[in-house]
């Protein structure tokens, strides 16, 4: 089957055929041996090199953990809801900010209609005895704030 994966702003085409021990990435064939140990934990042997790959799925993104590095990606697949969401949250267009965790809203720093620059604080949330700012992901205008 053919799958398009978008990683670090670049789209890669992975093609693998059932039963065969090779896969092709962007047309280049590589020996691949894969085994799912348990859901989300994959043992991958690519051209002799062994990798432990962990699937990380959250409401906001899908990523894989490899050698301690977290690699977010999206699947360009019309069937995949994730793909659409990923596109929605591109650099252009409206970008929602969600609190990545539950907490008490302490202060609201911006109002709907305010122009904000990237990384400007919007809302202050307190959890686990710490106050933290929810920052704007990009330059733009605050559409609405629901607290």
């Amino acid at each position: 089957m053919k799958v398009e994966i978008e990683i670090a702003g670049r789209t890669r085409v992975v093609d693998f055929t059932r039963g065969e021990q090779t896969a092709s990435v962007d047309g280049v064939a590589i020996p691949v041996e894969a085994r799912l140990l348990r859901p989300g934990v994959l043992s991958l042997i690519v051209d002799g090199r062994a990798w432990r790959v962990i699937l990380e799925e959250s409401a906001s993104e899908t990523a894989v953990l490899i050698g301690g590095e977290r690699i977010p990606h999206s699947v360009n697949d019309p069937r995949s809801l994730k793909a659409r969401r990923a596109h929605a949250s591109g650099a252009d267009g409206p970008r929602p900010i969600k609190a990545s965790m539950p907490g008490r809203v302490v202060r609201v720093l911006a109002q709907p209609g305010d122009a904000v620059v990237a990384h400007e604080g919007i809302v202050v949330i307190e959890a686990m005895k710490m106050q933290n700012e929810l920052k704007s992901p990009k330059q733009g205008k605050v559409a609405e704030i629901r607290v």
Binding site: L36, L44, D77
Partner: protein
């Protein structure tokens, strides 16, 4: 005085998280019945699962659960506990609670209330330090009555100076002042912050030590007048005055310095009639001078590194001391062997301003093997509550040398996976790979300086290769998606085959 042996048969554990589980384990090892308590946020916690008895305290907020001394004493009475272990945090340094326990005829496993009061206030502790002939930072030993007094003390010891809350802790009510002009505003700010944080506006002033190391001495004192020190821990790697990495021994403390600091610490403990386990914190300047900072009248979070290099179990010893036993060791029996490093694994996101990250742990792969000890209270499926300190686990590496302990810790960090929430695991990899940390060129400002630099790319593996592998893995996971949660997928003899099955379903 004649102390007789009072065997402890049942201990109420007035805490939660990893330390509560660690105390449950110690009780089981000593044939003591551990009684757990829990808030509504902790019903599914491991300390409840592993205890022999468990009782609900109240709603999630600590003020309605783990800080409710009255409820704790009720439960202790009801269940017939003869002792209470407070762990760290919560009521562990609350002298009134310790007193209430004694009055209820329940042994508080820690120092007497009087010693806690004596050493709990930083100003009174500084007076005690003077009486014990222990070096401390120049400055006042009483609360500052007025700005004028602050001015005169500052002039006398010279800038830069530090304003600190007498009841302080965790960096609250603290202000560094470099020039006289700034003293007024800083004085007032520190006072009001202290008032808000600790209900006391008492602040004092001390000389600011440049680039100090944080070195602390572990002491043990029994109720027969014997006190010993178990060497030092270095906790210079801090963020916002919070310890992040601790180690034992310190790379810069010589046997001679260890002895001087240890003997000073023991003198202070004895002068205050201190018993059980305690820790005296010092600042060490780059000239090798040490200054008394404060005393923690409880078991420390970082006690495992001392256990690994001394071969002792501090909780077992705490309980034996509380039973009225004399210390089973003399000072000359204490010998440090090897090196231990502890990483405090937090549910926080270093890539996003160390934003707390509570929530469900969807995937957990814990490290193990030679020289690795982990004290944690987490499991796959556990939902990390937002109501408490975000510490998930204490990962400790032991080896014969500091270098070997660092590479061992790096190995363990590479094995460690905590999915579903963000953690500081990758942040520890960065610190442990940093040349300054590896050369022990650290002080309490080290971590802030490191954070000011851009994070280096991970070595060995090329980004290109990693991304190629990630793409392949992502494609396979995608192909598994429909079957992913079925046992069939897990057991699938080969991911390709099940990929085929998955496709077939479409």
């Amino acid at each position: 005085m004649q102390i007789q042996f009072r065997p402890i048969k049942k201990v109420l554990i007035a805490n939660r998280g990893e330390i509560a589980l660690r105390l449950v384990r110690a009780c089981h090892e000593m044939g003591i019945t551990p009684v757990a308590v829990y808030s509504d946020a902790d019903r599914a916690a491991l300390h409840v699962l592993e205890a022999d008895e468990a009782y609900r305290l109240g709603p999630a907020p600590a003020s309605e659960s783990y800080l409710r001394g009255d409820l704790l004493l009720d439960i202790a009475r009801r269940t017939g506990a003869d002792a209470i272990h407070p762990g760290y945090g919560f009521l562990s340094e609350n002298a009134d609670f310790a007193e209430a326990c004694e009055q209820a005829g329940i042994k508080f496993i820690g120092p007497p209330a009087a010693a806690m009061r004596e050493l709990g206030s930083k100003t009174r502790a500084r007076q005690a330090a003077d009486r014990a002939g222990m070096p401390r930072t120049p400055g006042s030993t009483k609360g500052l009555a007025s700005l004028d007094e602050a001015r005169s003390v500052a002039a006398q010891i010279g800038y830069p100076v530090m304003l600190k809350a007498a009841a302080g802790g965790g960096g609250k009510g603290m202000r560094a002042v470099t020039r006289d002009e700034d003293l007024k505003s800083a004085f007032e700010a520190a006072q009001s912050e202290a008032e808000r944080a600790f209900g006391s506006s008492e602040v004092y002033l001390e000389k600011l030590i440049e680039r100090p190391r944080h070195i602390e001495i572990q002491v043990l004192a029994d109720e027969h007048g014997n006190s010993i020190y178990l060497g030092e821990r270095e906790c210079s790697v801090q963020r916002r005055h919070q310890k992040v990495i601790e180690e034992a021994p310190s790379a810069v403390v010589s046997p001679e310095l260890r002895q001087r600091m240890g003997e000073a610490a023991v003198r202070l403990a004895q002068s205050a009639g201190y018993t059980n386990a305690g820790t005296i914190e010092f600042l060490l300047d780059n000239a090798g001078n040490f200054y008394f900072l404060e005393m923690n009248t409880r078991l420390q979070v970082e006690h495992p590194v001392t256990e690994l290099v001394t071969g002792l179990d501090l909780v077992h010893l705490q309980i034996r001391i509380a039973q009225g036993e004399p210390l089973p060791l003399r000072q000359q029996d204490i010998e440090l062997r090897g090196h231990a490093i502890e990483c405090r694994v937090y549910a926080e996101d270093p890539d996003n301003g160390f934003f707390p990250s509570p929530g469900k742990i969807t995937r957990l792969v814990q490290p193990g093997g030679p020289g690795i000890r982990e004290d944690s209270g987490i499991y796959e499926g556990w939902v990390v509550p937002m109501d408490y300190d975000p510490m998930l686990s204490k990962l400790v590496a032991y080896a014969t040398t500091r270098e070997a302990a660092i590479t061992r810790m790096l190995r363990a960090l590479d094995e460690y996976v905590i999915g579903g929430i963000r953690t500081n695991l990758a942040f520890f990899r960065r610190i442990l790979r940093d040349p300054d940390f590896q050369a022990a060129r650290i002080d309490t400002g080290y971590l802030e300086r490191l954070l000011a630099q851009p994070a280096p790319k991970c070595p060995d593996i090329s980004t290109e290769e990693r991304e190629r592998v990630a793409a392949i893995a992502a494609a396979i996971f995608e192909s598994q998606r429909p079957a992913a949660t079925t046992a069939a997928a897990t057991q699938s003899a080969n991911a390709w085959k099940s990929a085929a099955r998955a496709e077939g379903l479409r």
